[in-house]
């Protein structure tokens, strides 16, 4: 008997009804991610406010890359919504397909983020602007990696255990993915691309 199962033994009450714990955990973890992104944004705007020249003269940051990163994540959000919808409708096959496609879009984002980081012409050591931009990219990339891991767990639970497609894990993974997108959209890099004066 496992340690957890032993606590459920005896005449303990059955698991109570209520929202899924994994969904709540996804929301709270996503909230923390958004907060970290907002903190970087606050610093970014303060940096802009306090700098005579912003961004630094030598920076030629093509906002096209930032817009493409945003578009990639937004598209993946549609796929995550599809997965959640299919799971709710009990369509296991569609849910699995949508999960896989969401993960593929996540990998595409990581690829583009890596390309962006290696082609912007500056790094975290170049200047504070560079430190914020690279930190923002790294934060979202780490979150996307966590999101892909979450999607993989949902996929494995659905596929290997043959659980019904409405498994709460799929719903939680999709919601966490939405929060990653929100965190990215309020990040300095995404807003720089959308609001650049150029």
């Amino acid at each position: 008997m496992t340690a957890v199962a032993s606590l459920e033994s005896g005449q303990a009450p059955a698991r109570p009804a209520g929202p899924s714990a994994v969904v709540v955990a996804a929301y709270v973890a996503g909230g923390g991610l958004i907060m970290a992104s907002v903190a970087l944004l606050a610093g970014f705007y303060n940096l802009r406010h306090g700098s005579a020249v912003f961004p630094p003269k030598e920076v030629d940051f093509d906002e096209y890359l930032s817009v493409m990163l945003s578009a990639t994540l937004l598209l993946s959000g549609g796929l995550a919504a599809w997965a959640a919808q299919a799971a709710t409708a009990g369509n296991r096959r569609q849910a699995i397909g949508a999960l896989v496609l969401t993960g593929v879009m996540g990998l595409a984002f990581l690829n583009l983020a890596w390309y962006t980081g290696s082609h912007v012409g500056f790094g975290p050591s170049s200047h504070p602007f560079g430190a914020v931009v690279i930190s923002s990219l790294a934060l979202t990339a780490a979150a996307v990696i966590a999101g892909i891991a979450f999607l993989a767990v949902a996929l494995l639970r659905t596929q290997l255990r043959a659980e019904k497609a409405s498994d709460a894990t799929i719903s939680a993974a999709a919601r966490f993915w939405f929060l990653i997108i929100v965190a990215w959209m309020v990040s300095p890099v995404a807003l720089y691309g959308l609001m650049s004066p150029r």
Partner: protein, 512 residues
């Protein structure tokens, strides 16, 4: 059932107790550093001031205050919810391992030469963890930063688990609006901690980037201002949020003492929620004024959470009109409130003295962020001792331990107030023994020693409590579900859970 090892246990009560003991042990280390700083200042020699301050701030800020309350919550919240376990039992077990490892790394950092000495933190030009960036790239600095990252990640894991447990594992009928006040405060403050801590973790990660990948985040004046504004998005709420646990605990203690439903239930819950919300708004004080960070911690925005806390206390007084039955935690609760009043008075003095406010507000911050949560935790531990060790803490020991913490807080704040009144605008390195500041530094050290004595007395009280077993409803007036569990609870907590049709399912007249 075979007894599980400490590392593999999924029993929230054991995990909670271990967390409490570890937090208090680290408090002893941090307190020793605080005493050391003041005794050195009293002697006019500040050789190790920076290193000791860094050790003190790293432990208190990450490993003591919030983890102590999370330990209490881990042990008590599932009992209040009428459930047998946490939502993710293994996650808390893993978090405890991370926490222990992180604390070990931080302490180990100070076995290296040179010891990491980032200097002042709260009042540094670049606050913690930014102040760590100026450390030389040494093994000690690496261990300190890595240890703090592990501790902060463990904090997030623990709070997410508690929030998920409260959201998803409540007994039938126990709606969010019927949660016991402590669980309510854990839900509200837990969400706050879970979303504020990642900001701090992000800062530590940036320090790591600066030190190992040639980053420049913390090395330019513009970046300093950047981080100054960003860090308080996490730092200011985390300094205040432990007081929310105290508000929840106090509300439960008052409910247990009266044994009746709270007529101002919505007001009490609303005010606790408002306190948590307002603790985030205090960040705006530094966000709106680039220079505000270096100004005193205490600022007008602090009036908002103070107001919310005042409403909670007024709701307690309103309940007392109907009479009460004395419970051991009442005196500790009153003395904890006394600590809060001391901090408010000191904070008001700081607000009205711009030129010498720093020393006052520094002491006020420590009172709010360390002494007040500690006094509150003493009250909580005494109140729920029957669920933690199976018996109640004898009244004299309960009163004495909380009195010692109160006296220690008073001595500590008095030393700061007198230093400020005597013209000392800076911290220990600037104190002059010729001006009699050495004696005041000793007074501050005595305050810390007195508070530590209170914790030792409490430990003696817990030893005595093990021999003084009590029934499930230890004080006879408990109205929430934890008082339906045996003292100490069985491994699965409940053989049967009473029907819940109100916020006080065990109150006289309630369905059972």
């Amino acid at each position: 059932m075979a007894r599980e090892s400490l590392l593999s246990t999924a029993d929230h009560k054991r995990l909670g107790r271990m967390q409490i003991v570890l937090s208090l042990a680290l408090l002893a280390v941090a307190g020793s550093a605080g005493i050391f700083i003041r005794l050195q200042a009293a002697g006019g020699s500040i050789d190790h001031f920076d290193a000791m301050t860094s050790l003190h701030d790293a432990l208190v800020g990450v490993f003591v205050v919030i983890p102590l309350w999370l330990g209490i919550a881990t042990a008590i919240v599932p009992l209040q919810l009428g459930t047998s376990r946490l939502a993710f039992p293994k996650a808390s077990s893993f978090a405890l391992a991370l926490y222990t490892g992180g604390a070990a790394l931080v302490v180990a950092a100070y076995t290296k030469t040179p010891a990491p000495s980032s200097g002042r933190t709260v009042f540094d030009g670049v606050p913690l963890p930014g102040s760590l960036a100026k450390l030389a790239d040494t093994k000690g600095a690496d261990l300190l930063v890595l240890g703090m990252i592990l501790g902060a990640v463990a904090t997030v894991l623990m709070t997410v688990n508690l929030v998920a447990t409260i959201s998803a594992r409540r007994a039938h009928g126990l709606t969010i609006g019927r949660l016991p006040y402590f669980s309510w405060s854990v839900l509200a403050a837990g969400i706050g901690i879970a979303i504020a801590t990642p900001v701090f973790i992000g800062g530590l990660a940036l320090v790591w980037i600066d030190q190992h990948f040639g980053g420049s985040f913390f090395t330019s004046s513009a970046a300093n201002a950047l981080w100054t504004h960003a860090v308080w998005l996490g730092g200011r709420p985390e300094a205040l949020l432990p007081a929310a646990f105290l508000l929840g605990t106090g509300s439960d203690i008052i409910s247990t003492a009266t044994g009746k439903p709270n007529q101002l239930d919505v007001v009490t819950r609303g005010a606790i929620g408002a306190f948590v919300t307002f603790s985030f708004l205090t960040w705006t004080a530094s966000a709106s004024d680039a220079g505000a960070f270096l100004a005193p911690f205490v600022n007008p925005a602090l009036a908002l959470p103070a107001l919310a806390a005042g409403v909670v206390v007024l709701s307690w007084l309103a309940q007392l009109r109907g009479g009460l039955k004395p419970v051991p935690a009442l005196v500790p609760l009153v003395l904890a409130l006394g600590v809060g009043v001391l901090g408010l008075v000191d904070g008001l003095i700081a607000l009205t003295n711009d030129d010498r406010g720093a020393i006052w507000s520094q002491h006020s911050l420590t009172l709010f962020a360390v002494f007040l949560p500690l006094a509150g935790a003493v009250a909580a531990l005494i109140h729920w001792a029957p669920k933690l060790v199976g018996g109640s803490v004898p009244l004299p020991l309960a009163g004495l331990s909380s009195l010692a913490v109160f006296v220690g807080s008073a001595l500590y704040i008095l030393s700061g107030a007198l230093l400020g009144a005597d013209g000392s605008a800076d911290y220990a390195p600037a104190w002059s023994t010729a001006d009699g500041h050495g004696g005041l530094a000793t007074l501050g050290a005595l305050g810390i020693i007195a508070a530590a004595g209170g914790v030792v007395i409490l430990a003696v009280g817990f030893v005595a409590a093990r021999a003084k077993t009590v029934g499930a409803n230890a004080y006879g007036n408990g109205t929430t579900l934890e008082w339906a569990a045996a003292s100490p609870p069985v491994p699965h907590n409940f053989d049967s859970v009473p029907d819940v049709t109100s916020a006080t399912p065990l109150a006289a007249g309630a369905a059972s």
